[in-house]
Every structure is written in C-alpha cells, then in structure tokens.
Symmetry: C2
Subunit: 170 residues, 2 copies
DNA sequence: CCTTAACTTCACAAGTTTGTGAAAACAACG
DNA sequence: CGTTGTTTTCACAAACTTGTGAAGTTAAGG
C-alpha cells in the first residue's frame, strides 16, 4: 500500500498542506481588513496541533524575520486574540490561541460600536435634534446602541451553544 | 440678543460644525478599517439635511477632486451603502443614503463569514478531523456558522425595533 | 557576574495605497 | 448633431505601510 501512514500511526501533518491552509485563511483575514503579518501569525497558531507556537517556529514556518514576529504578536496580544506565555525555566515565549478567548475579541468590537454611538450622540446635539440630518443621526445612534446591546448577548449565546456541543459530551 | 437664529427661523447649519462632525466620524470609520475617501463621503452624505449630495457638493465640502469623489461613490455603491440616482432632466447624479439600506450592508458581512466557514471546513478535511488542529478548526467553523445564522436574525430584530420606534408613532 | 539565547527596537528600503490633474467618454439640451 | 456640463479613466507623484537587518535589551543558567 502507498498510504502515507500505517494504520497504527497517528495522523501526520503534511507541512505543505498546513502551510497552504494557513496562507489561504490569512489571505481572507487580510481581505477583511486585518494587517497581513498578524493574520498569518494568527492563522499559523490556530492551525498547529498544540495551539501554541514559539517565535522561532513562527519565523521558520512563515519565512519572516524575528522582528516581524515580534510586531505581529504584540498586535495580536493587544487585541487579545492570542496570549503570551513563558515556559518556566526557558527564555522562550510561546504564543497561544485560547479558543474561548479569541471569540471574545469580536466582543471588543462593541467598544468600537460604543464610541461610534457617542459620536452620533454628539452629532445630534451639534447639528440640532430637530433638523433632518439630526434625526437621521439619532436613528443611526439607536442602531449602534442596539448593536452594543446585542453583540454581548450574541457571544453569550455562542458560549452556551458551545458548552452544549463541546462541554456536554466530550 | 446674540442668538444666531431668531426664534422663528428654522435651525441653521453651521458648515464648520458639520464639517468637524463629518471628519470625526469619518476618522472613526477609517480607524475601523474603512478606506478614507469612502468614509468621508459616506459621513458627509449621512450628515446633510436632504440625505443626498451631488458630486460637486461632495467635492466642495470635502475639498477633494472629482476623481476622488468618483472612486469613493463607486466603492460605496458597490457595497450598497449608498445608491446613485439621477434627477430626470439633469446630467447630475445624486448619491443617497437610504437609512433602511445601509444597515443591511452589515448583513453583507455574513457573506464574508460564510466564506470563512467554507475555508475552515476545508481546513478540517485537510488537516484531519481527528488531529488537535483539526478539532480546533472544526470548532471555529461552528462559530462562523453560528454567526452566519445569527447576523441576519439580528438585523431582522433591528428592523422590528426600528419599525416600532419610528414607524409606529411618526 | 558573565555568557548567551531570546525578544525588542529602530532606521531604512521596498512596495502599496491614495488622491490628483488631464484627457476621454457620456448624456441632456438646444 | 454640435455644445456643454458632468462623470469616469488613467498615469503618476506623494504619502504611508510593511518587513528587514542590525544593534540593543532582557533574563536564564552557568
């Protein structure tokens, strides 16, 4: 037989295949507005078996300089999509995707929405609540308020559904 | 009295104030990943009393060339945040924000989410559903599926709430 | 403490994006 | 069907962004 793995071996990673997937997903994230290096780094960590990678591993797999890794992980930590951990007794950091954590990063979006809402509120006041433009802004403000209220609820529902699927039977 | 407007006059636009608001909101949209000119154009139209502006008006208020206006409105039309209309018997287009329509542009996001989900599905298949990485991707896929299902519902709820507020009593 | 592995910072070169002017293409109106 | 006001296209210059190499900093382990 020409199988790549004997029946008893555990499934083996074909690094070329992994890399192709990583680059594809990263490209999609980039298209959606994410900066390229953080997107690639995030995709790589998400796709590794342990769920965590060192800077050296990232540097090698993505063929980028340590400087680029440094910048990307700083950004990703900032927006809480990964967390940094140091293995005690080593000087090597590892960067990890906490499954439960990075969904919440979407929740950070509601901070953005909040600030938009604030801007709308100010706009209504400045342009006048009785002007046509003011009324339009007021409605937009309500929309943002609605989102700010609903997004956290959405995440909560996800947490529940997730709990049911992965927590219950696993 | 030093009021800017007599009690009987209708509220009058102070263009400097309007412009300050437009630029502020546009800057926020830009920060959130939107390209600058489309953001400015969108903010300007949203903030004008009629809810629609001509290219010449945009060009003047934003101090940009007709070419820049052209590019921005093309983009905004594409993502359905504005619509183009021509006043019959004129050769001048007007660009309009349909309040009900641009919220839906958020809904377009669920197309993006759909394509991410597809990528995850492929990733699971390629990396192997029984590998740790494969399982992580599978969970991520479910998350995207969840979003794709929920986002349209969210918009629907907004439409209802909006109907109640603005449709019922106005 | 000194050595050394690992991470970070910084200035810069390469690459992209953005907005413009000028010219071309359109379309209403006489 | 030519005129004229309007929008679009295109090549280019300016501004910004990105990723790198190299030097600098930090901290584990001898």
């Amino acid at each position: 037989m020409n199988e790549k793995q004997p029946a008893t071996a555990k499934p083996q990673r074909d690094e070329a295949v992994v890399s192709a997937f990583v680059e594809r997903f990263a490209a999609q994230l980039t298209e959606a507005g994410m900066v390229r290096m953080p997107a690639r780094v995030f995709a790589a960590i998400l796709s590794c078996d342990s769920g965590a990678m060192s800077a050296a591993e990232l540097s090698e797999q993505l063929k980028i300089s340590p400087a680029a890794v440094s910048g990307a992980v700083r950004y990703l930590s900032q927006v809480t999509m990964i967390s940094r951990e140091r293995e005690p007794g080593s000087r090597r950091d590892r960067y990890r995707v906490h499954s439960d954590q990075w969904y919440e990063a979407l929740g950070n979006r509601d901070q953005i929405v909040k600030s938009w809402e604030e801007t709308m509120r100010e706009g209504v006041a400045r342009l006048g609540p009785d002007t046509p433009a003011g009324r339009r802004l007021a409605e937009t403000q309500e929309f943002f308020a609605f989102l700010g209220k609903e997004l956290p609820l959405l995440l909560e529902r996800w947490r529940e559904e997730r709990e049911r699927t992965y927590g219950g039977s696993a």
